[in-house]
Symmetry: none
Subunit: 192 residues, 4 copies
Amino acid sequence: MPKTEEQCKQIREDMRSRILKNASLYFARNGFGDTKIGDLAKHIGIGQGTIYLYFKSKEELFEEIRKNADNKDQVRNLEKVSKLPLPAKTKIDMISADMERKLNNDEDYVVKITIVSQLMLEQEETLYENDLYKHMAKIIRQGQKEGSVVKGDPVYLADLYWGTVYMYALKKLFVNECKMVTRETLARLLEV
Amino acid sequence: MPKTEEQCKQIREDMRSRILKNASLYFARNGFGDTKIGDLAKHIGIGQGTIYLYFKSKEELFEEIRKNADNKDQVRNLEKVSKLPLPAKTKIDMISADMERKLNNDEDYVVKITIVSQLMLEQEETLYENDLYKHMAKIIRQGQKEGSVVKGDPVYLADLYWGTVYMYALKKLFVNECKMVTRETLARLLEV
Amino acid sequence: MPKTEEQCKQIREDMRSRILKNASLYFARNGFGDTKIGDLAKHIGIGQGTIYLYFKSKEELFEEIRKNADNKDQVRNLEKVSKLPLPAKTKIDMISADMERKLNNDEDYVVKITIVSQLMLEQEETLYENDLYKHMAKIIRQGQKEGSVVKGDPVYLADLYWGTVYMYALKKLFVNECKMVTRETLARLLEV
Amino acid sequence: MPKTEEQCKQIREDMRSRILKNASLYFARNGFGDTKIGDLAKHIGIGQGTIYLYFKSKEELFEEIRKNADNKDQVRNLEKVSKLPLPAKTKIDMISADMERKLNNDEDYVVKITIVSQLMLEQEETLYENDLYKHMAKIIRQGQKEGSVVKGDPVYLADLYWGTVYMYALKKLFVNECKMVTRETLARLLEV
DNA sequence: CATGAATGAGTATTCATTCAT
DNA sequence: TATGAATGAATACTCATTCAT
């Protein structure tokens, strides 16, 4: 019995997602060069050839992962929060609570942030001009005016904040039952 | 006419160190799989074959680097500091100043800490039983009694501290002109 | 759609045999060091990588060939003949006829005996304690009692006999249209 | 104290001979491809570079060995014997006694004959047109007329004879305390 | 579509040759 | 002249990619 057009498409889409999801984790853990297509396929539980039905090359699969791993949602959310009519302290607490929750419960987010961070590390010159940094710096500046955030270069502090988030994402990825950062600790990075 | 025994040994030792030093940086930046022996040799400015006069294989070179990258000095120094008859706050400030200095000026240290940290991440179960963590936790406990260090699990705090140092080592390795963590920020991770 | 389990196994077994058979000839002619995997693969008509799907290394392929090239069949057959209730002369004639036939028509045998002989040459101390030698010596002793075989150390004569067979196997391997030893000549090595 | 011209030349000649002699044995045992210059040098007890002071390349060293290993003396001697006014049987006995002696006592001869034979095996088409074969065949023909040599193709018999000598040279080279062929056995290969 | 055996370009490793001492 | 560390071309081996089934 031939499947309907719709089913067919769905099945393809599912397999593609399955590969992407698994490959993301694999690449994040091992890096590009240490990830072998054969191992990856075995890990997913499919044949090597199958990967090439969905992606032209290892390179393209990697690119796709990087593309998927953008942090637009994150940036958008951050922008929204930064524009709320609230004290900076409250904003920072909200963001930190959100981060704590995601780091603990959202594995996709953990993988994503690891990949994004590695990308950011490699594109050195633009690291500090990142939107994530800009919005965070804005909140920090607000907090400094309000006296709730420690003195210092706002971009330096934003870098400290996101760097810490990245570090714990890395830990979550590699260490079983790792001690996860709390919202309080994250907030304390910035607050007086 | 052959060189004297002494010269010979010296020359061999120098070349071995030169390879190890350069390869450390290369492996730390690129990982194992993305490091090509050919590129590495070219980067060092020697022939490919020369590497194999000093190391049996790429694998062995990598292992040698990991072996060399222990942090015994660091641990010893930390232990010494922890036993000094000083307030915990002073100890933390001393350690933080030392870290700031090393992260800024000692490239070998930066490479070493990156490698050690990756090793520690991979040996998950023992991460928190590390000597580095133990000595730091001891100082933190002292500080908590003295009221100079924030409340909370001392091992969690030690992990936060060393994780931050690792994160900035990574940054130093990848990002040109990165904003380096200050001794004040490091101290503030622990101090009230 | 994947092949059936059965087909798969058969195909793999066939390829393995094909490689072994061709490599045997190649190694026997050229020795280990002068056999290039690239040349061998080209000669077999397969890719270089294919060889490594079936054998871990050139070394292992060589060992496998040596392992396969035992002369158990030969020894068993010789033992059987030696126990027949026949005059030694008849036995020697039977064996010689068999050898003549195999040297002329059975290329696999020629390759095998060349490899086995080289193995035997390398394991010097046990050369004369070989089963092939023992059974032949027994027949020779019988013949000496019956007056049909020349006087002399039976092991020396067995060595002469098998050495001659080896020599002609070598010739067959290297010399096109070589003058092959006849059963009469082989028999005359031993018979009065 | 500078050596005289004469001494100098002598020393050079000695080293050259030493290398040639050792390399001959090494190549005869292991073949060209399995002989590594490094191993050979170590075996001789000199530095690798030293070999290149006397021979342009491994190839040239090998060629030199092959050139030295001609059998002109052997051929000349055989020709002389073949022309003596003696019965073929006597000639064969003389040659066989000579062979027995050389195989037993003259290691240089053993190495030489091994190399020459390998050369002859490789130049297939001319094997049976070799001078060694021609002179031997002539003696055999004489013997057949005199009734002292077995019937059959004289070249086939010459091949059997020299093949046997080659085989025992090989044995001598590889097998410690090998059972060496006797002059009687050699003679019996041809004589009735 | 899915598979995994086969391929060969790319990478690791060896070894004949050079050369500074 | 003799040496052996250094070199890089040649060779062994791996792994991304293809393709017959």
